[in-house]
């Protein structure tokens, strides 16, 4: 990308920021490129990265709460809220900055709001907290906003909850139904088997082989009953409690990690 293309692109990307800010930034980068000269132009433009990156850096600086959100370091703009490896060593000069800013505040009181950079760093979420506790100034529109949000979101949330509850009830009834079916089957197998066995013993005296067959079938039925009973025990007595415990653990872990993610 050539110099003029770069500047044109940057100007386009910055069209929504205040005019003097835009002019200042464009002038700086034009100046910089002219100072670098044609022979370094390619190199400098490569060092700049994309116009989008430059524009976002300028925009970030403009929002005014740089000290609240992130800072410009030798790495460019870094936002420490998303930086897991926070180095406390940095906080020593940060403290110096606080004192310096406070000292400067006495000298020139033009912007009193800037005298507590360091303190603001700790109160990043003050705005959010105030929002929820209602201590922020002129909050009526925030309440209005919250009300509208509730009205919009509630039906969606409600139907989702209803769906989840419906599925839970469905699964639960299915499990209960299966349990009843299994119990009936097991009972039938036991009772039928016992009846066949008894009948078979009686038949041994009248027709020997048919009696033997009945005794055999009775034994098979009782065996089936034991098998069913064992299967039901394994499924309802062992597997389900284990599965529920697992689900519960996963849910608890997810809930426990939630505040961490927010921070």
């Amino acid at each position: 990308m050539r110099k003029d293309d770069f500047l044109k692109e940057l100007e386009y990307l910055l069209q929504d920021i205040p005019d003097d800010e835009k002019k200042d930034a464009i002038a700086y980068y034009r100046d910089y490129l002219e100072e670098a000269g044609p022979e370094r132009e390619e190199e400098v433009l490569a060092g700049f990265g994309s116009p989008e990156k430059i524009a976002s850096e300028i925009r970030m600086n403009l929002t005014g709460n740089v000290n609240q959100r992130g800072e410009f370091t030798d790495q460019g703009y870094t936002d420490r809220r998303f930086d897991r490896t926070f180095h406390p060593a940095v906080s020593v000069p940060q403290g110096a900055r606080t004192q310096g800013a406070a000292g400067k505040g006495e000298a020139s009181h033009s912007d009193g709001g800037r005298t507590d950079h360091g303190k603001r760093e700790d109160k990043r979420f003050r705005g959010i907290k105030e929002f929820f506790s209602g201590r922020a100034e002129d909050v009526w529109w925030k309440y209005l906003l919250a009300g509208v949000a509730v009205i919009v979101i509630a039906p969606v949330l409600f139907s989702i909850l209803l769906g989840i509850m419906g599925s839970l009830v469905g699964v639960f009834s299915l499990l209960v139904g299966c349990l009843i079916l299994l119990a009936v089957l097991t009972l039938t197998a036991f009772v039928g088997g016992a009846a066949l066995l008894a009948n078979g013993f009686l038949h041994l005296f009248t027709g020997f082989w048919s009696g033997v067959m009945m005794v055999g079938m009775g034994m098979i039925a009782i065996g089936c009953g034991f098998l069913l009973f064992f299967c039901s025990y394994m499924f309802y007595g062992r597997f389900l409690p284990w599965a529920f415990r697992g689900i519960w653990r996963v849910c608890r872990k997810a809930v426990a990690s939630l505040p961490g993610q927010v921070r």
């Binding site: 100046d31 060092g47 850096e57 600086n61 410009f72 370091t73 030798d74 000069p93």
Partner: protein, 104 residues
């Protein structure tokens, strides 16, 4: 570079570089001077300079050079005060770190 330069240290470096020129100095030169000490990209300093300017640590003026404007940055009195503070803090800090980290 292995060690990060935090925003306060970067401010201190920029203020120190600008304060060395009594008549003020311009963006490109500041960047090259800072780059002689730490690795920064060519674009890093604009937001820093702009912020220091808004914080009344730096003032700017334009001067015509070769038929175009060159923007000069000059340190202000409160910029000097800030630099003095940074300097004291840095001397203290770097001395302690050097003592701890020094090879026996």
């Amino acid at each position: 570079m292995v060690f990060n330069t935090g925003s306060a240290l970067l401010d201190a470096i920029v203020l120190a570089v600008v304060s060395k020129e009594a008549q003020g100095t311009y963006g490109y030169k500041i960047t090259q001077d800072v780059r002689s000490a730490i690795e920064i990209s060519e674009s890093t300093l604009y937001p820093v300079l702009r912020r220091l300017q808004k914080d009344d640590c730096l003032e700017v003026y334009d001067q015509a050079i070769d038929g175009r404007n060159r923007r000069y940055y000059k340190i202000t009195e409160s910029g000097r005060a800030q630099l003095r503070l940074y300097r004291g803090e840095w001397n203290n800090y770097s001395r302690k770190i050097s003592e701890i980290i020094r090879e026996e």
